[in-house]
């Protein structure tokens, strides 16, 4: 079991109270790594302190035709 899979096993058991086999944990770890990395990079590139999740609805309303 590699470090990422071990971490996923810890999250599953200690934080979420869930049990998965090692193969599935490795798949989940790989999937989460890709998603996390993409969002983390995009956030670092585009987000500032003042960015609010609710701005999305405001942009739609302001840009409405």
């Amino acid at each position: 079991m590699d470090d990422k899979t071990r971490l996923a096993a810890g999250i599953a058991k200690q934080l979420q109270g869930l049990t998965y086999d090692d193969k599935r944990l490795a798949e989940i770890a790989a999937e989460v790594e890709v998603l996390n990395e993409t969002v983390r990079k995009a956030a670092a590139q585009h987000l500032t302190f003042d960015d609010d999740p609710a701005a999305f609805a405001s942009v739609l309303a302001k840009e409405a035709k």
Binding site: N36, D52, F56, V59, L60
Partner: protein, 471 residues
């Protein structure tokens, strides 16, 4: 024969004929029931058919009309809907085994609106389990099958909505769209599907897949029918705080503006799956047809969809994991591919989920500034490859990475527009080498569904893809 001809007519034509007294709602309902008797065994589009109740409703609608009362623009028109719209006292399975016998305690806002407009309800339609699947596979209720070729998928998750409208079993149907679930079956079945702007249609009383990305909308045979149906179900709803207070336009009255002078961006983006040549050629031909009608076609500057797509994945997995947790902990009866798509949601940090939400405003601004700069709409395919078979997309046994890969290929060109919340319309634009339909996708500015309908209507006036009926 008379009834078959009646079933082949469009929603608006039938609604107007009922209003004018040329036909009755009972006749239209019987015509649909005759089609259903022939097509249900081939497609498995219906989960529950309410034959007697529908006829009773149709008789009541005819009586009201005879007394001079027309409820609205859909008075007496038979429809059926994805089995995720609640009606008080009725079973609502959400396509699942878990809710096979669950009875809804409320009626969804959109069904209330259709009731008020006079719609006759034929029953409820097949769908992917909990709206989680882009193909139309369902291990609990049986796969839905494409009316054009019963070995091929319908697209999902609104599989029964696409199949029933395409096979002329109903005149219109509600679907829902979290990553393409209206546009994919519309494309694969050769019908029109609208995912309106986020906030345009209420989600209250509908099964959620992701509160943030879910969109409710109609599937119909023509753009005109779709415009009429959206106008009925759209609008602000106190039971869904995300709905917009913007007034709902009379979409149908705005259909005939033509496309002269409209500027349309054209793109064949390779987002997670390359656009196959025959699909690209069909969409190019549609662009050429619109150009001949007077639209100005220009290359669209599309942003990279990768981050948009993965942000949507983060959001949907986290929200789905949260809402399904009690059943997942109890090891309830999910299909393998449905369960495995949600599991990562338990492992994604809350900060990443929140950042994905925060990024949406940036993504919308970026798309509007780049792809939609100076254009009225953007056009691209809905599905980037020919409609596959049920067998070659059946990943139930493999799950995990195989499921993710298949989902990504299907939804690569649709899911980004759920993250953006922009209106997106799928319109039939031809047939692939196997004889299955191809869908053209049109994207608009926020709340500009009207321009998409205008373009789609002009296109349907110049082509006959939507007039072809599966046999």
């Amino acid at each position: 024969m008379i009834n078959d001809d009646l079933a082949l007519r469009d929603l608006s034509e039938v609604a107007d004929a009922i209003a004018a007294g040329r036909i009755t709602s009972v006749q239209a309902t019987e015509a649909c029931l005759e089609r259903i008797a022939v097509w249900q065994p081939r497609t498995n589009a219906f989960l529950r058919l309410h034959k007697e109740k529908a006829l009773e409703q149709a008789r009541a609608m005819d009586k009201e009309l005879a007394a001079g009362q027309r409820r609205g623009p859909l008075h007496g028109v038979p429809m059926a809907h994805k089995d995720m719209y609640y009606r008080t006292g009725e079973i609502s399975t959400g396509g699942s085994a878990i809710r096979r016998s669950w009875v809804a305690p409320v009626t969804s806002t959109v069904l209330q609106k259709l009731d008020a407009a006079g719609v006759v309800e034929l029953g409820f339609l097949n769908m992917a389990e909990f709206a989680a699947g882009p193909t139309g596979h369902n291990v609990h209720h049986g796969h839905c099958r494409n009316p054009w070729d019963d070995k091929r998928v319908t697209g999902g998750s609104s599989s029964g909505s696409g199949a029933s409208v395409a096979a002329r079993m109903v005149y219109g149907a509600l679907g829902s769209d979290t990553g393409g679930s209206i546009r994919l079956p519309a494309s694969a079945c050769g019908v029109v599907g609208m995912k309106a702007t986020y906030g345009r249609v209420s989600r209250a009383g509908a099964v959620a897949r992701s509160w943030t990305l879910d969109h409710v909308g109609p599937l119909t045979r023509t753009v005109r029918d779709n415009a009429r149906m959206l106008a009925v179900v759209a609008g602000q709803d106190p039971d869904d705080s995300t709905t917009s207070e913007k007034p709902v336009p009379d979409y149908e009255a705005l259909l005939d503006g033509g496309v002269q002078g409209l500027k349309i961006g054209f793109a064949l983006p390779d987002a997670l799956a390359p656009v196959e040549p025959q699909i690209g050629a069909a969409v190019q031909a549609a662009a050429d047809a619109l150009g001949k009608l007077g639209a100005v076609i220009a290359p669209a500057k599309m942003p990279d969809f990768t981050a948009l797509y993965r942000a949507a994945e983060v959001i949907v997995k986290c929200e789905a994991a949260a809402m399904h947790r009690p059943w997942m902990e109890a090891d309830a009866a999910y299909a393998n591919q449905v369960r495995t798509r949600m599991e990562a949601g338990f492992f994604i940090p809350a900060t990443q989920y929140i950042d994905a939400l925060r990024l949406r405003a940036h993504f919308v601004r970026e798309f509007l500034d780049a792809a939609m700069d100076g254009v009225d709409a953007v056009m691209l395919p809905a599905i980037p490859f020919p409609v596959p078979t049920i067998e070659e997309t059946d990943v139930e046994a493999s799950g995990g990475p195989a499921t993710l890969s298949m989902v990504a290929r299907f939804t690569g060109l649709t899911r980004p527009f759920n993250t953006l919340g922009l209106p997106a319309l799928s319109v039939p634009c031809g047939f692939d080498g196997n004889g299955a339909p191809i869908g053209l996708q049109l994207i608009g500015r926020p709340f500009d569904e009207a321009v998409l309908y205008r373009i789609g209507h002009a296109y349907q006036g110049a082509t006959d893809h939507h007039r072809k009926v599966p046999t």
